[in-house]
């Protein structure tokens, strides 16, 4: 069963002079196992939208239904929330326990699992995020590096085996190797746990690499929604919004402008390389 968002509107501080409507009339469905990329300019409402997914914020109007649980109902919310794992941008908001092991087990413990199951899940989560059990399990989360903290925070969510994994800019502030590692990890959980992923990112290249569906927010509304191919062919509209198509899409369009007859719909480096190789091959034959 999917997450269904119907006619969702959200107003911050509604009723006061500072009222600000951050989301307007959002209709969106997140299917099982789907990888959804959420993009939009700064302040477009991405973070606000994903916090509606697990009932941390209640819609001002409209509904959010997670696997049939209505998130505006207090009892159903608890059930729905346990299906949605939310990773916030800064791990510092989440880490608190004495050791990495205890911190990761916080979620599973709240789920009232038995100790063997918790232990199994913590080990599994640490393996998936690439933290060596013997080295890190007994360390304090506060003496880790930024990247290790992020891995720990991720593991804390993964160990809850969410059906939907929601990530708010999970790669912000990481070096290229770190970004790649996080993306690979996300792909890893997705194939192992079969969860759906909703990822907010400012990096179009990362979205292009992994997402099956891309949602573009603009001033609190869904501007468009479609496959990466459809979205990244809207180069002009994206530019206008302060976003940028992925590198490969830009390069392909520059090359086309220079007279190279490349096919449309290229947005990953691999596709561009393949197209160029074919082009060279074709011309060589001519």
């Amino acid at each position: 069963m999917p997450i269904v968002i119907e006619k969702l509107t959200y107003t911050y501080q509604s009723g006061s002079v500072n009222a600000f409507t951050a989301l307007k009339d959002i209709d969106l469905t997140i299917k099982d196992g789907e990888f959804v990329g959420l993009i939009g300019h700064t302040g477009s409402g991405k973070s606000t939208l994903i916090q509606q997914l697990n009932g941390l914020m209640q819609p001002t109007s409209g509904r959010v239904i997670v696997d049939g649980y209505d998130m505006s109902d207090k009892k159903q919310r608890a059930k729905g929330r346990s299906l949605v794992g939310m990773v916030f941008q800064y791990p510092d908001y989440q880490l608190f326990d004495e050791t990495v092991y205890k911190d990761i087990s916080f979620g599973p413990r709240n789920m009232k699992l038995d100790n063997d199951e918790i232990d199994r899940r913590v080990r599994e989560a640490m393996r998936l995020v690439g933290l060596d059990f013997d080295e890190f399990a007994e360390k304090s989360p506060f003496e880790l590096s930024g990247g290790e903290k992020r891995r720990t925070a991720l593991a804390g969510i993964i160990a809850m085996y969410p059906k939907y994994l929601v990530l708010d800019e999970p790669m912000a502030g990481l070096d290229p190797a770190g970004r790649r590692a996080v993306l690979e990890m996300i792909d890893g959980f997705r194939s192992q746990l079969g969860c759906a992923v909703v990822m907010v990112s400012h990096s179009m290249d990362d979205i292009a690499r992994s997402a099956e569906k891309v949602v573009v927010l603009r001033d609190g509304r869904i501007f468009t929604c479609g496959t990466p191919q459809e979205i990244f062919s809207l180069a002009d509209e994206l530019y206008e919004m302060g976003l940028e198509p992925p590198f490969a899409a830009r390069m392909a369009s520059d090359l086309r402008r220079r007279g190279l007859l490349l096919p449309h719909g290229i947005y990953t480096n691999e596709a561009l390389a393949a197209a160029l190789a074919e082009y060279k091959g074709g011309r060589g034959n001519a």
Binding site: R81, F88, D92, Y93, F96, F106, I157
Partner: protein
């Protein structure tokens, strides 16, 4: 829910009260507190509360903003009222039934406590509503600066207050984010007895403290790298000026205190009213 706290929030408006020198407003507040405490007669209290309403009207701050400051005391006030009502036994006895005894002294004291608390809190919140934290702490520093002779750290104190006030909204926002992060991990903050709930707060308090210490360290570094070295030789962008307006405000406040003193030393309105009402309970008793 954390956003309810109004104390320490500035309400921007263009009014005489906003334009008063922050030092004047601090002195006014102190005088006002003195007035609140020397009042011994409930009816004279009307004068003090009237003055408070007058200042609020002058400040153009909506009355309900000022009254919001009372909201955090909505449990404390009734409790104080009841405690005083039942515990104090002076004056005439109005009601005496089993172990409950209510006296005129109790009624007076209970009313007093509640009125005093309301008057104090609304007065203080009017000050913070009409004064930016920066000018407030600057006013405080200037008022305390004569004490520098005896090595009182006036500048440091003011700087500490500025920083604390500056970071209150940040902290609230951060507490909110941390709470969400832990709720998303299934933290249960609402059920269980008081010990369980206190323990459930740990996953929120620990990151809050850790982040605050880190931020304090970063702030100290940032200040030092911009050559901050305490108050010595520091000049001001805006120099405070004491004007006619300030003099008038202080004179009016002095008049209020004088009126309070004179009224209650010459008239005993409370006693008179109690005398009028006395037949009510003497007959029933």
């Amino acid at each position: 829910m954390l956003k309810d706290i109004t104390l320490g929030q500035y309400f921007p408006a263009d009014s005489v009260v906003h334009r008063l020198d922050p030092r004047t407003k601090l002195v006014l507040l102190i005088m006002y507190i003195v007035a609140v405490f020397i009042v011994k007669d409930i009816w004279v209290f009307g004068l003090v509360l009237g003055f408070m309403l007058f200042m609020t009207a002058m400040s153009k701050v909506p009355l309900n903003y000022v009254l919001k400051a009372i909201k955090p005391m909505r449990l404390l006030l009734p409790l104080m009222f009841l405690l005083n009502l039942f515990m104090i036994r002076t004056g005439d006895t109005i009601v005496s039934w089993r172990f409950i005894t209510i006296t005129t002294g109790g009624v007076r004291q209970a009313l007093f406590i509640v009125l005093r608390l309301i008057a104090l809190v609304t007065g203080a919140s009017l000050l913070t509503l009409t004064t930016t934290p920066v000018s407030l702490t600057e006013g405080l520093e200037r008022l305390l600066s004569p004490l520098k002779i005896i090595k009182f750290p006036a500048h440091e104190l003011a700087m500490m207050m500025t920083i604390a006030l500056r970071f209150i909204p940040t902290l609230l926002e951060e507490a909110d984010k941390i709470m969400k992060a832990q709720l998303a991990r299934g933290a249960d903050l609402e059920s269980g007895n008081i010990f369980k709930r206190a323990k459930a707060m740990l996953p929120i308090l620990i990151p809050l403290f850790v982040n605050s210490f880190r931020r304090a360290e970063e702030l100290a570094l940032a200040m030092e790298s911009r050559c901050y070295h305490g108050g010595e030789g520091r000049t001001r962008l805006k120099v405070l000026k004491f004007g006619w307006r300030d003099l008038w405000a202080i004179l009016i406040m002095a008049a209020l205190i004088a009126a309070v003193v004179i009224l209650q030393s010459n008239l005993d309105i409370d006693g008179y009213i109690i005398g009028l009402l006395r037949p009510l309970w003497t007959r029933s008793a």
